[in-house]
């Protein structure tokens, strides 16, 4: 059994003023400090990136770690954020390494904006069938899938809006969050169009920052400073692409295939999840995953959110930190760290009382054809 023994953050800003290498080192050291460890205890480093950050082969030497027993530099977007921690857990379970720090450092506002300025179009053969039509960026792609869901199931703008409002309310209780001023449904509806049906408040923030988690054995974690959080299940897989979809249905994500494996590994089901930190690059991403992870019936994600089910005092609090929409965008790792915080019971004003089981998910496979997820448990 493996566990997460510590979490660490840099501040979330619009301009860090430092390199991603510096951000990565700061987050790694902060996570080690949280666990009561030092860099001398580290024998593994892992990250995911899309050519926009510092790999373990730079972060290791920068911290004086010249003989890492295991490292992983995973190319990929948010689809693989949780797979990185899963693979670190495998390395620890296999005895290849004892203490692996998984991090993501990103200057996503001041340097390389996702799908925006500062970088070229991705090197994928699928791009030639999209970019000539001015169709290149994640908000466009997600808006396209969101409308397909609206047309098929009657999902409404107000459903997306409820989610944005709920997550902002959570962020208001999170000192780390970039956006803490509460918003109303009217504010949502009045925000400017980005790519219809998406408005500005459907879209995640662009953030400079870093976040890290320490993966080690459950046994060792129990001897450290913080209450350990067990990695109860880690799964990855599924797949779609922009040019095809599972069962030819663009309203079904890779999570639908992955979820049964994930729950079986943990020996529990969606009804056992106390808190869910769900990849929210856009509002719709949460709504479709609530369906595909089995919290409501297919097509009911919008009404489920609008019922208040995902609010802090609802049956399934979702994105208690505010998520990418309001806390900041650290490409999935801040969702894992928030799940850890909730299970340790140190989430402050936004603590879900008695949370024992948390689900945290990656990008559900619309952009890169794969997804990944973790189920974490209080020890």
């Amino acid at each position: 059994m493996t566990a997460i023994a510590g979490v660490g953050y840099t501040p979330f800003t619009k301009d860090s003023g430092v390199s991603t290498l510096t951000l990565a080192c700061r987050a790694v050291l902060a996570a080690l400090e949280d666990a009561g460890l030092t860099a001398d205890d580290v024998d593994g480093l892992a990250t995911h990136r899309v050519g926009d950050s510092a790999p373990p082969t730079l972060v290791g030497p920068a911290l004086g770690l010249t003989d890492l027993a295991w490292h992983l530099d995973q190319f990929g977007g948010g689809s693989v954020s949780h797979a990185v921690v899963g693979q670190a857990a495998l390395a620890v379970a296999a005895g290849l390494a004892e203490t692996v720090v998984c991090y993501r450092a990103i200057n996503a506002r001041s340097e390389f904006r996702m799908g925006g300025t500062g970088r070229g179009v991705p090197a994928s053969p699928e791009v030639q069938y999209q970019a000539p039509y001015g169709y290149v960026a994640p908000p466009q792609q997600y808006a396209m899938y969101a409308r397909a869901h609206m047309l098929k199931y009657g999902t409404k703008a107000e459903h997306f809006g409820h989610l944005a409002v709920t997550q902002r309310a959570n962020a208001a209780k999170n000192p780390r969050a970039l956006m803490r001023t509460p918003i109303t449904l009217d504010d949502y509806l009045a925000s400017r169009w980005i790519a219809e049906p998406f408005r500005l408040l459907d879209c995640c923030l662009e953030t400079d920052g870093a976040c890290a988690v320490v993966v080690t054995t459950a046994e060792r974690a129990r001897s450290l400073r913080r209450p350990p959080v067990l990695i109860s299940a880690a799964a990855w897989g599924g797949g779609t692409s922009h040019l095809s979809a599972p069962d030819a249905d663009p309203t079904v994500t890779a999570a639908a295939a992955l979820a049964p494996r994930l729950y079986a590994q943990a020996g529990l089901g969606p009804e056992d999840v106390d808190v869910a930190e769900i990849y929210d690059c856009f509002t719709y991403s949460v709504i479709v995953q609530l369906e595909d992870y089995g919290f409501c019936a297919k097509g009911e994600g919008g009404p489920y959110v609008a019922s208040g089910a995902t609010a802090l005092d609802g049956p399934l609090p979702v994105n208690t930190h505010g998520g990418f929409l309001s806390e900041g965008y650290v490409h999935g790792v801040n969702h894992i760290a928030e799940a850890v915080s909730q299970l340790r019971g140190d989430a402050g004003d936004r603590q879900v009382p008695g949370a024992e089981v948390a689900l945290s998910t990656a990008q559900p496979g619309y952009i890169l054809p794969a997804t990944s997820a973790l189920i974490l448990r209080r020890s």
């Binding site: 799908g115 925006g116 179009v121 053969p125 699928e126 791009v127 030639q128 069938y129 999209q130 970019a131 000539p132 039509y133 001015g134 169709y135 290149v136 960026a137 466009q140 808006a143 396209m144 899938y145 409308r147 397909a148 047309l151 400017r192 169009w193 980005i194 790519a195 219809e196 049906p197 998406f198 922009h242 040019l243 095809s244 979809a245 030819a248 663009p250």
Partner: protein, 143 residues
Amino acid sequence: MAYRPEPDRDSREWWERIARHEFAVQRCDICGTTRFPARAFCPACRSEAWHWQDVEPEGRVESWIVNHQAFVPGRRQPYVVVMVRLAAVPGCLVYGNWHGERPPEPGERVRASFDRIDETLTLVNWTPAGSLDPHPHQRTSFR
């Protein structure tokens, strides 16, 4: 032109056919499954044997977006991108700009519009199947 497609070794011939206003998909020689975009293996039976098959350049509107900012340089906003389910390959979703005087309708039948950019490049956009494109030279917000 903001972005020029870069054909690869699998797709080059498809683009050459499009430049001749021929709309083709691959059909597996072994199991008959059609596929798009071009690639070597049949995902149904894993055969590498295939041939091009001309098909009607038709489909149905699965979704669309109205872009209100310049996601690529040189675009005039707003512009519409449609997601079209190809009639010839039902599991396949393709994209293009919308050539219509009105917004698309869900499930609407559409036909390809072959829009010549220059000698070697033609792009496929989509127009309502019930109408001929009234302004074939006014490529919607293409430049």
